[in-house]
Assembly symmetry: C2
């Protein structure tokens, strides 16, 4: 009969929040350094604004809220829970006409999707989006890729790589290869799987998706013979692949500009990989697309994005060019936790517990607690004077509090305190005035 | 046809978030200094966990979520949006058996209530709760009052006062005065209005609530003759008012302990007011109650709380003693904003905009932007090279960005930049290497 949180949701206890907030502080810091500002929107949106925007499957996954009063008893709904952060951004661009453009905003808030809960997939999860709305300049796209690089570098993620391609190049490639319009989207999806399923299966998928065998063979050849991740081979392969389609030309010109700008931004070439087969799943991209990967450890995508010049209008906003990136917070945090597994982990509670021997020493204990706070430590004073010290110690242990200060009647009379290092099982007597230094020693601060 | 956020909700644009986060940083800082740790729970809870806990009125105000799939088409709901932060705390105590007690947690998350939207009242709003679960010690109650004092002092709120009383004293007072059980809650509600409606109207309300005229007169006399906010007069009046009821005795003993502990915590007597008529609206309190007020400016309550020893069990958790405080964030932020009205307000965007004269100077502009970031400034580089400088300046102006750095071809060749102070309409040429100092001057940092 234990009441649990709803299926697919989770409670964040102090230790979970400590890990997450440490990553978020770094991420927000990078965004803000580049002039991106926070936006927050309500968890609920009007259902008429939400529906019809994410396709049939998406509509089914929206949590719908019953009308209060009339209509509710018949099952009528008028509100829904936020499904992503792009629709709210579009709605904000429409609701607030006076936002200066380009609007450079980041948004880190939960979204809700009624998917079947499974390991590592949640119905309520935090999304982390950063977007630049109102400019078609490739500088904005280059800045997006720079943000991913700077965030991953700041987080200390090992060996990350940012894969880059262009939707117009990809589309022209398909046209030039002879893929007919009907199966183009399916063919692009098949190509995107190259890294996962290998050359042969990809060729099979292409044929299954409706591409003729010869066309499929041509595509495979165009991809495999020339790809090594460098910009030079990418451009060579792309020029060959798109032929003289006008769309292909535009795409290649934009990619050249993007690569130049990435150099100006100082993104090191070794973290970039230009990949003609990388497509990203979402259909709405119209320009450069990018995906952040940790090739080692099989973690897969840690986020990505691209330019989506008409989506904001499709979602009910004004017609504005835009580019953006989404970071996969849950995966990033998992990687950071695995890497920190050897290191010290703290419970997310205080740095210091002041144990209280009995009611008589309480004034002294509270004075010592205040001094520890004054010195910059998060410090709790045990709230039940007279409880056995052993119990107070195990309380600190259970909370992962590393330092315990004991103040007994003898200590009070001599103006000293006992400072216990719980991890090292050491205890040291110091003058009350030397408390801060003794705590710094225990906490390694 | 402008799509707005749902009625009773609001978007937080960057400037709104800047004001709010500044207050929240202070509040979180105080909580953590005292060893309180953050908790976050899902926005959605199971409807069977939520309903029947807040009374009939409360149940009607819960936003209910339609079942996905079967039952949904008939209007069946299985989830609801979080209505407060106390029920989730109770559920967490039941869901996670291994939480060390006392569990000292704070929680700052939105809650949803389907109230009729009106000025200053929202359907989605941020609650800020701090609670201590698992100890009956008056030290915990004293710490709650200390937290309110420390938060308000750190925020610089002027002339705040914390009104304190005890539910057992109040209940025994009513019994001793001859208020019959049926009308006790109504009588306590009438007394609570003393400050708002004055002596005569309160006496009328008491009679209307079912108290006899003589009893009402006695109550008024007991309250008015002896109240001045000091602890000594409070105890005197309370001893007189509760007679020799055992409940009254316990209440007064606890209040004496509380006052002693508040002295140990160093809360100055002048911010405290012991008021026999203060009752707080909620019925579930069982011990000390407290309310934070800004008497000047008619702002009313900025928060409050009290001991609620059986509520966690009533809400579905284990039977644990608890005490807690809720801060009225919206009101606190309004007060802070009004006080800052004369001062400088920033738009919540970057500190610095690097204007880009044309495509040719872009590498230099990006280099200057990187240097500003390196020096600790939030800096955006204008993303459309070649747009007229006047337009780039008005962009900075619209965003409230105080400093603009101009890099033109002439500047690049001479290794200098122009630093514009938009508020003072001043411009200064400095060597690129001296940029950080020039920006510090403009930003007053």
């Amino acid at each position: 009969m234990k009441p649990l949180p709803p299926k697919g949701t989770r409670d964040y206890l102090p230790g979970d929040i400590a890990v997450r907030e440490s990553a978020l502080r770094t991420i927000r810091g990078v965004f803000e350094r580049y002039g991106y500002a926070p936006l927050e929107t309500p968890a609920i949106e009007r259902l008429d604004v939400l529906t019809g925007k994410y396709g049939e499957e998406g509509d089914r996954l929206i949590f719908k809220i019953l009308k209060r009063g009339e209509g509710g008893e018949r099952g009528e709904a008028d509100l829904g829970l936020r499904y992503d952060l792009t629709l709210p951004l579009s709605r904000v661009m429409a609701s607030h006409g006076d936002i200066p453009q380009p609007f450079k905003r980041y948004q880190i808030q939960p979204v809700w999707r009624a998917e079947r809960p499974q390991r590592g997939r949640f119905r309520e999860f935090l999304q982390c989006d950063v977007d630049c709305v109102g400019t078609a300049s490739m500088l904005a796209d280059a800045e997006m890729i720079t943000l991913i690089h700077e965030v991953f570098a700041a987080l200390g993620l090992p060996g990350y790589r940012i894969s880059i391609n262009h939707r117009k190049v990809l589309s022209a490639f398909m046209d030039a290869a002879g893929v007919v319009a009907d199966v183009k989207v399916a063919a692009i999806r098949a190509i995107d799987k190259l890294d996962k399923i290998g050359r042969e299966s990809m060729e099979e998928e292409l044929v299954k998706s409706g591409t003729t065998g010869d066309t499929a063979k041509n595509i495979v050849r165009a991809l495999l013979e020339r790809e090594n991740g460098s910009f030079e081979t990418y451009v060579g392969a792309a020029r060959h692949a798109v032929g003289d389609t006008p769309e292909g030309k535009v795409g290649i010109e934009e990619m050249e500009l993007l690569a130049e700008y990435l150099g100006y931004f100082g993104v090191p070439a070794e973290v970039l990989s230009f990949d003609l087969h990388m497509a990203r799943g979402l259909d709405y991209y119209t320009g450069p697309i990018f995906e952040a990967l940790l090739p080692e450890g099989g973690v897969g995508s840690l986020g990505g994005g691209g330019r989506y010049d008409h989506l904001i209008e499709q979602l009910g906003g004004p017609d504005l060019p835009a580019t953006g990136t989404s970071l996969g917070l849950d995966r990033i945090i998992t990687v950071l936790q695995e890497r920190a597994a050897g290191g010290e982990t703290r419970g997310g509670y205080a740095d210091v517990l002041v144990a209280v021997f009995d009611e008589a020493v309480l004034p002294a204990a509270l004075r010592v607690g205040a001094a520890a706070r004054e010195a910059g430590f998060d410090c709790e004073v045990y709230l039940e004077p007279g409880v056995k010290l052993a119990k107070q110690f195990s309380y600190a242990d259970a909370k992962g509090i590393p330092a315990v200060v004991v103040v007994g009647p003898d200590e009070v009379s001599r103006g000293v305190v006992q400072v216990k290092d719980l991890a090292r099982r050491e205890q040291k007597e110091v003058a009350e005035a030397a408390l801060a230094d003794a705590l710094k020693e225990v906490l390694g601060a």
